[in-house]
């Protein structure tokens, strides 16, 4: 089933993207693909090019290179594309004077694929009553409203830029719960950026690490466990371990060293010390080492 979905035609194909701001490259010969029916995390430190990449996909910034989103070029076919894409940014933009019912009426008026009844159903049981105004809502409630509006649109690609930034853990958990229960299926694709790596690591089907506008890692989540191993190396085995070329190494108190290996032989690693599969956060830290140096 996995391979079947991955072989379907990709929703996003990017080749040689380039975007320079004043004195910094936000996209530097960037290439990646987003397959259909996946939940892909685009993860990188601040200023790595995440938001620029998303803006390029949404046709919100000019750039150089070859980019196809659902077979269309966002630079020239943005209007058609917007029928099939939805977007939630960390800076949720809803006018402060607007009431819940007005927001629903507005989206119903501008979006041909918006299902008003569905949206109201999503809001049932929440504190978002029809006459509540945006200015009276907490940050969590605004995101909740935004999500209900977006999930009621039958789009093929949902782009989320730091959707849960500034939310407490209850709202964050609820956000992804709703998304998985009421929205995602094999016909839909979600592209999400976030700093909360641990929180979404099991939700993602694929992950991309971006740094200085370049994709440093691009892999299905279920292959990471086979590929990467972390070893707690005993002091007397450190030299032997280094010979196997770890991609990262850090010393712990009491004479142990943690080393991260990419694609090394599991049996040989087992002789060096205790092994475990690193979490996404561990891989991220190792990949991004020196970023802020």
């Amino acid at each position: 089933m996995n391979t079947e979905i991955r072989n379907g035609s990709p929703v996003v194909v990017a080749r040689g993207l380039r975007k320079a701001y004043k004195n910094k490259l936000a996209l530097d010969d960037t290439r990646f693909e987003v397959p259909l029916g996946r939940i892909v995390g685009l993860i990188g430190p601040n200023g790595a090019g995440k938001t620029t990449a998303l803006k390029a996909i949404l046709g919100l910034v000019p750039f150089e290179g070859d980019l196809k989103v659902l077979g269309k070029d966002p630079r020239t076919q943005r209007d058609e594309l917007m029928n099939d894409i939805c977007f939630i940014a960390d800076v949720a933009v809803l006018p402060r004077w607007m009431k819940v019912k007005e927001a629903i009426a507005f989206v119903a008026g501008v979006h041909p694929r918006f299902d008003e009844a569905k949206c109201r159903r999503f809001l049932e049981g929440t504190q978002l009553k029809p006459d509540l105004r945006v200015r009276e809502m907490s940050k969590g409630m605004i995101v909740q409203l935004h999500l209900a509006l977006v999930m009621a649109i039958d789009a093929r690609l949902l782009v989320l830029d730091e959707p849960t930034l500034g939310l407490d853990i209850l709202y964050r958990k609820q956000f992804y719960q709703r998304l998985l229960e009421d929205y995602f299926d094999e016909e839909k694709t979600i592209l999400v950026t976030t700093h909360q790596v641990e929180e979404i690591e099991h939700i993602l089907t694929d992950v991309m690490f971006i740094r200085d506008g370049k994709i440093m890692l691009d892999a299905p989540m279920d292959t990471l466990g086979e590929r990467y191993t972390e070893v707690l190396v005993n002091a007397d085995r450190v030299e032997a371990a280094r010979a196997l070329k770890p991609v990262d190494e850090r010393a712990l108190p009491f004479g142990k060293t943690v080393m991260l290996f990419d694609g090394a032989d599991a049996a040989r690693l087992g002789e060096l010390g205790e092994t475990r599969t690193p979490g996404l956060a561990d891989l991220f830290v190792a990949t991004m080492k020196g970023t802020y140096a």
Partner: protein, 123 residues
Amino acid sequence: MTAVEWNDGAPIYRQLKERVVAMMLDGVLRPGDALPSVRQVAAEYQLNPITVSRAYQELADDQLVEKRRGLGMYVTEGATARLMASERERFLREEWPMVLERIQRLGLDPKELLDPKSKWGQA
């Protein structure tokens, strides 16, 4: 919401499968019971649906659950018996020889250990 800790050792889909198997062995899930939908499990445990499908697929491959068209996944009639048989087989192959060896090494009498009238024979 159930708090779940996944450990770093095994892939998540396998840990999920083990969890369902444990529920069957404990009698929490019985033959004919419905499993929650992939969507429900994904949302509740915050896992991607592909992981959940994969766990369910392996349970189906082991004939512990079956798909009923349009209704979802159900525990098969023979699931408990099948699991018991494989658990017994595993116990006799892997654990029993070690237990037996220990009993003999400590000079205990298996007959007395299992005699319901002795204080060791009460399960």
